[in-house]
């Protein structure tokens, strides 16, 4: 960390870090929902990723293995969801909720031996020359892999959705699975892939928490971030750019609350702790006031099971 950075740079970096897990999980869910599947199991998948990444970091000491296995753990969880919801056509909402509860319990069980274990922090990837620049250096070029990955995933996801053929097909599946099926697209297979991508991203979000944000394992350490990420997808009206904005906004509210306290601003701290959640509710209310826009942007088939006509 560059000690001479001005205070606002440090504050921004703290906000950025707070927003990264929301951004990762949110992007995964955005793609999943664009394909017409609503997976409410983010929290469970994040926890699976968090404990798996942590366990492999503690055992192998390799950041690469830790990150890969965390993504794989998230995918494994989402595969379970996909099998139940897409193949067996179970109710997506109920299955997603079950996935969250399952993930909370499973991660706590697997995490038992790792409570109180210390691991090295995820290494920061510095770019020689660029990282030493004043302000710009610490702001842009002094992060760990997951931060770069999350930030680059935003334009990548936007490009994929809006400018590629597979992205177009994915959206078509989400808008009308019957039409997509009639055109010969494998609706279920496409949805499987979207769900798996969502699982991998949630796994990485969890890994960011347990490897970088607070390099330790604590039961239920996601502390509701999966739900916030879900809300952010609606907040962003399924737009990637707005998702980034929402994640930063949310990170900012949760960090600035602490700054207000440290500056001795006279607001009850309990009220300040509520602020991020209040902000989400307010924004959701504002957005849903404009119902046509919401209808235009919402994937029309979201949450609906697809039963291929035989």
């Amino acid at each position: 960390m560059n000690v001479d950075s001005p205070m606002w740079v440090e504050i921004f970096l703290t906000i950025l870090a707070a927003s990264i897990p929301l951004l990762l999980a949110g992007l995964g869910e955005l793609i999943t929902e664009k394909s017409g599947v609503l997976n409410l199991g983010l929290e469970g998948m994040m926890l699976a990723g968090a404990i798996t990444g942590f366990a492999f970091m503690a055992k192998t000491g390799s950041a690469l293995i830790a990150i890969t296995t965390a993504a794989a753990a998230g995918m494994a969880m989402s595969l379970l969801f996909a099998f139940l919801a897409l193949t067996l056509l179970s109710n997506q909402v109920a299955t997603g909720l079950a996935l969250t509860l399952f993930g909370v319990g499973l991660s706590a069980l697997l995490g038992k031996p790792f409570v109180g274990t210390a691991i090295p922090e995820l290494p920061k990837l510095s770019i020689p020359g660029l990282s030493d620049l004043p302000i710009v250096g610490p702001l842009l070029f002094h992060h760990d892999f997951l931060v770069y990955f999350a930030l680059l995933s935003v334009p990548a996801a936007a490009y994929f959705l809006l400018h590629t053929r597979p992205g177009l097909i994915l959206r078509a599946v989400g808008e009308s699975h019957d039409a997509a099926h009639a055109l010969g697209y494998p609706v279920i297979r496409i949805r499987y892939m979207a769900v798996l991508y969502g699982g991998a991203m949630s796994g990485l979000a969890g890994a960011f928490l347990s490897l970088s944000y607070t390099p330790m394992w604590a039961e239920n350490m996601t502390a509701g971030r999966g739900w916030i990420a879900l809300a952010l997808v609606v907040f962003a009206t399924w737009r990637t750019g707005r998702l980034l904005l929402g994640a930063l906004l949310f990170g900012a509210v949760s960090i600035l609350e602490l700054h207000a306290q440290a500056l001795g601003i006279q607001i009850p701290s309990q009220l300040l702790s509520m602020l991020p959640y209040l902000a989400t509710i307010v924004v959701l209310t504002l957005i849903s006031a404009d119902s046509t826009r919401i209808r235009l942007l919402t994937p029309a088939c979201i949450g609906k099971s697809f039963h291929p006509p035989s």
């Binding site: 870090a17 409570v115 210390a118 607070t214 330790m216 602490l258 700054h259």
Partner: protein, 357 residues
């Protein structure tokens, strides 16, 4: 959970179990513990479990522990379950268990209860605590000497007297050695929330703090201190393995001797409801080894204060003490009584912001 409790199938079975408790041989002690965090928090709950293990080893009796029990309704359920499962000495180790403990105790007059850090007692409920503030006084000396920015960050859990006492004791020592230093406090409204504790630590560092104190139980603030290159002080346990460079010292709790003594009293039939409040002298509060980077002169100063507290020459809350407005609240030559300390509800001069009510 290290031991799962069998679900009691019917009220009849519960009554039968309760009956076996009342007829238990006086010499037989089964000690149950409920903890607010996980055993592996390496802070508060970890030390209570260490105390339990010491007790089991010293006396060879059956003990059990229930981890991560939320304060409130859930605590009452767990305490009752322990009592109905035949545990006749129950330690409830968090402030927020106070009313639940008293409520259950009323229903199980033959079970002895020990509530940590509380102030309400009854015939079968004792209270015990440690004068952690004595340790925090020593931390104040170290922080005052080691800070360069003269800003200290303090992460609080809940604004209860226990925590406020720590902040005040720390600040009194801090200002004695460094009158220019001030303390910024952030309340995270949780005993154990690594993410939030870490956010608070970063915020305090961003606002210029170069020494962090915490009255929350995870090692996250120390880890943040380590990665940001500032100092920190461990809470409840030696947390140096999380922050080998950053930890100045840690205020370490030591419950083993007390737990052994209490279980023994139950065995001998001499147990009586009482209040225990031991500090450095009683060995209930200890300090982790000082960081090697602290100059010898500062270590000597801290050690002198520690010895003076043990001998009784020095009391952290001896006057003159000024509150935030500069008004003298404890006159020179006077010392705050234990009674006043237990209900302490104001910040001393040097703490910024105002105490949430």
């Amino acid at each position: 959970m290290q031991q799962h409790f069998k679900h009691l199938g019917s009220g009849l079975l519960a009554a039968a179990l309760a009956f076996t408790v009342t007829t238990t041989n006086a010499a037989e002690v089964k000690a149950g513990f409920i903890l607010v965090g996980p055993v592996g928090d390496h802070g508060w709950s970890y030390q209570h479990n260490q105390g339990r293990l010491a007790l089991a080893k010293n006396l060879g009796i059956k003990t059990t522990v229930v981890e991560s029990v939320k304060e409130g309704a859930d605590a009452e359920r767990v305490i009752r379950k322990l009592a109905t499962s035949g545990y006749n000495l129950i330690f409830t180790t968090s402030f927020g268990y106070m009313n639940s403990t008293l409520k259950v105790a009323k229903q199980f007059p033959n079970v002895k209860f020990e509530h940590a850090t509380g102030y309400k007692r009854s015939k079968n409920v004792s209270t015990y605590g440690a004068r952690f503030y004595e340790g925090r006084y020593i931390a104040g000396i170290l922080a005052g000497r080691m800070t360069k920015s003269n800003i200290i960050g303090y992460i609080g859990s809940f604004p209860i007297p226990e925590v406020v006492r720590g902040i005040d004791s720390f600040t009194i020592a801090l200002r004695k050695v460094n009158p220019k230093a001030t303390v910024k406090v952030i309340w995270v409204n949780s005993w154990y929330d690594p993410g939030k504790e870490s956010d608070a630590a970063k915020t305090l560092i961003d606002q210029g703090a170069d020494v962090l104190l915490q009255h929350t139980d995870s090692a996250a603030p120390l880890q943040t201190a380590e990665s940001r290159g500032v100092w920190g002080v461990g809470q409840a346990s030696d947390m140096s393995k999380f922050a080998p460079k950053a930890q100045l010292t840690a205020i370490v709790d030591n419950w083993g001797d007390y737990y052994t003594q209490e279980a023994k009293a139950v065995m001998d039939g001499t147990w009586k409801s009482h209040d225990t409040w031991g500090g450095l002298k009683a060995g209930m509060v200890k300090l982790a080894p000082y960081n090697k980077a602290i100059p010898a002169k500062v270590v000597a100063e801290a050690e002198a204060a520690r010895k003076a507290i043990i001998s009784g020459e020095l009391h952290p809350f001896q006057g003159p003490i000024k509150d935030q407005s500069g008004k003298v609240v404890v006159a020179a030559g006077e010392t705050l009584s234990d009674q006043k300390l237990l209900g302490l509800n104001f910040y001393v001069q040097g703490v910024q912001g105002s105490l949430p009510k």
